[in-house]
Amino acid sequence: MIDVSEPRPRPFFLAYRPTLPRTWWMRNRRYAFFGLRELTAIPVGAWLLSLLYELWRVSDGPSGYTPSASPLYIAFSIICFAAAVLHSITWLNLSGVILRIKMGEKDVPPRTVTLANYAQWVVVTVVVAALLIWLGTWR
């Protein structure tokens, strides 16, 4: 006869068996892309620390300051730029789902929030670029 009763509960020491291998992120492209998205944090952080290093060199006075502009530094910046843009795109795409803005009884649609954030990114980029060029003329 088939037993249709509740399955017997597992003993407590077998209840949770972590079976996820360390290579779980290699299972499919979505997991790998998730891993890549998380790892964009490394180049973003590294570039900000390189900027901090340049600012620290300013405290040495005019004789001790040389602007970073070697081919190696430019290559490093290009890699960091790619990672930063990937972070921006994935972050802003998710922002519509995460940020819930009340509008009367309903929420603002996620698409609208995402589009507004992209518009904000464009505006901020243009303003910061203009400020950098203007500050570059200060002495």
């Binding site: 790892l39 973003v44 570039w47 005019p62 972050w91 901020v124 950098l132 500050l135 003329t137």
Partner: protein
């Protein structure tokens, strides 16, 4: 008929449970979110102009000013020193560098947890969030040391 019944506690209304709010977790998550948004909106334009276009000699920005033959170190120094002399610029740079550090720390903490390194979660949290706090203090120290 079954004699099975739920224990008394599980039938209490939800309001009777005493949940402990994870305030510290909320603080780190909030800083992750703010830092992530700061990084998303501000970091690409800074890398593009200060890290790529100015070193290539296509545009002048504070710290990288074009002279007759490539970057002019003296003019570069004076432009960045003049910009940093403004307290608003100092505050902006502090936000630009320090806030994303909490985002980086949070993401790398969860990368370390997901990679199942075998290290205890609280040790990793101390390492990464501690690093972000140290980075913030270092940024403040650097900004204060600049004339």
């Amino acid at each position: 008929m079954s004699n099975f019944s739920l224990p008394e506690t599980s039938r209490l209304p939800a309001t009777e449970h005493h949940y402990k709010p994870a305030r510290l977790h909320g603080l780190w998550w909030g800083l992750f979110a703010v830092g992530g948004m700061t990084a998303a909106l501000l970091v690409p334009v800074h890398i593009l102009f200060q890290g790529i276009l100015a070193p290539l000699g296509l545009v002048s920005v504070p710290g990288k000013v074009l002279g007759p033959n490539g970057l002019d170190p003296a003019a570069s120094y004076h432009s960045i020193a003049a910009a940093l002399a403004n307290p608003l610029v100092k505050l902006y740079v502090l936000a630009l560098i320090a806030l994303p550090l909490y985002h980086v720390a949070h993401r790398l903490l969860y990368v370390a947890i997901d990679l199942r390194l075998g290290l205890h979660r609280s040790l990793l949290a101390l390492l990464f969030y501690g690093g972000a706090v140290l980075g913030t203090l270092l940024t403040i120290a650097v900004l204060l040391s600049v004339p």
